[in-house]
Symmetry: C2
Subunit: 322 residues, 2 copies
């Protein structure tokens, strides 16, 4: 078959071996292809870090708005943010997919290409996976990371009073982008809001922020996946501290304000409960860490696990699965 | 809520945090609960081995026949067989699940309990996962293994002429059990065939067979997941050899013969194309390895990648995803 025919062929027409070969063509790896993948994680002392995320069509992604490449990209960011949030460096991913037999091959190779493009920025490899028929499209990505040295990982229970709270990445953009997509669809979102839409469809993530933060005095880190207040509440409760945010450091910027005006929404809700930004949120005793900005401080536990200028947040609920 | 109420509660009623807490109760681990899990794989030189498998309801398992515990059990065996097939020892699993919000919590805790019971036999831990709503029940399990020492892993391309081919585990039982279940349902399968049904619902897997085989001279290994001929053909083609099986070492035993008679099937089809037995299949220059039996030998490449007593097999097609 020519490439053109392959692109409109279905998974059933191409067959399992053909699909796997097509994935390996867009995401080549010398490790992939045996019963399991063998990884050399690093020098002695290096620990292995693992995490997994499942994305379900029409819940975590919508192919009316997102290209398959973007779905792959987002799956990588979700997983790699979790690896970074331990202070580790992502080195490999496994890609499992369920899809109906009538699915076009180009969808699968598109997701694989998106994964490959994104992991290359981190010098990571797609080392294996699984492929199965199913009624719906479900992507399950697993990331493997490398945690060098003998320092502890960045844990949720290691925030300490007196530390600064720092953040790498926008907050509230993904939720705003999602609301814009629901209102306008991808094509008709006003140009000035494309950055919000991209934050939802292809959330950015800077390599090595977790490693650098751990090397320069951070002790606790998480990522904003379920909502700023929800995720910081988990950290504050595990650490038995209160996290007090500076309102001016997290307040909605001009883009969020204008989008909120257009949609008739409260932009603070996006900021405080939005989730899926995959902003890295850390506590540190060290100096400023490049790529991070200060957004608050850790104090002794008060009535409330997370406060903004000492007050309870206006919005607290985050995203849950059910 | 009392435990009794919890068991009939749905995921939506219990909420994401409640479901995760319930999973951690049946599968406790000190590592689980942060953004990602940090694993100490072993002494210097130890490599990390990873694999993943996705199980879709009504394709890979049927809750009319299998208990949730059995689904968890089978998912572990599928993954751990792949880890063992590299000569490695499984040490951890990640458990991702998509399920409708109306699903009973007891289904999820049942799967988790099945995972936990099975991994304990391997001294492995459930260290993390993901939980999401979706239209169908999809289980995605990832296994992490430890490959000690500097010897190479057991690869598909390392079978060499002159080696023996050895097997650990039954061959054809899972496919026979599946046909019996389709005909009779779980309750009404005649007692004499329960072992075949169990081979399908809870395939056995002996710990450490991969490690022992690697330590005693095996060079190539895979597991019978897609069908004996299919899986050995992959090994033979990657190694550029022919694998010649002894008919008498793989011929259907009395159970398979009687089941075939009852169902009017050819028992050789179960043996040669059945799959899902997760029999470990290795090639070795060493002595007999405990838990394995000889089933053939590796010879120079002939016309056919896999032969039985020098002849082409009667059945060759295996299970594919599409």
């Amino acid at each position: 078959m020519t490439n053109e025919h392959l692109n409109t062929a279905t998974l059933a027409e191409v067959g399992e071996k053909g699909v796997i070969a097509a994935i390996q063509e867009v995401a080549p790896s010398s490790i992939n292809g045996d019963d399991a993948a063998v990884l050399t994680i690093g020098p002695p002392n290096t620990r292995t870090v693992v995490t997994t995320d499942m994305l379900v069509e029409n819940r975590h992604f919508n192919l009316a708005w997102s290209t398959p490449e973007e779905v792959g990209h987002k799956a990588v960011v979700q997983n790699f943010a979790d690896i970074q949030a331990m202070g580790a460096r992502p080195i490999a991913v496994l890609f499992a997919l369920s899809a109906p037999p009538t699915t076009e091959l180009s969808l699968v190779t598109g997701i694989a290409r998106g994964i490959y493009e994104r992991i290359q920025e981190f010098s990571a490899e797609l080392v294996g996976g699984d492929l199965t028929a199913g009624d719906s499209i479900v992507v399950s990505l697993t990331a493997v990371g490398s945690l060098g040295g003998s320092q502890p990982p960045l844990l949720l229970n290691r925030a300490r009073p007196g530390q600064k709270v720092i953040a790498s990445g926008r907050i509230g953009y993904s939720a705003a982008g999602f609301d814009l997509l629901k209102k306008f669809g991808r094509e008709d979102v006003p140009v000035e809001f494309q950055k919000l839409v991209r934050a939802h469809c292809t959330p950015p993530l800077m390599p090595d922020r977790g490693v650098v933060a751990r090397a320069t005095g951070a002790t606790a880190m998480t990522d904003n996946s379920d909502g700023l207040i929800t995720d910081l509440t988990t950290m504050a409760e595990r650490s038995a501290v209160t996290i007090d945010l500076n309102a001016s450091a997290i307040e909605p910027d001009h883009r969020l304000l204008r989008a909120a005006e257009l949609l008739g929404k409260d932009p603070w809700k996006w900021v405080l409960t939005g989730g899926e930004d995959h902003t890295l949120l850390a506590t540190t005793t060290g100096d400023n860490v490049s790529g991070f900005r200060p957004i608050g401080r850790v104090i002794r536990r008060t009535d409330s696990p997370v406060t903004i200028g000492g007050e309870k947040p206006k919005w607290v609920e985050g995203w849950g699965s059910y």
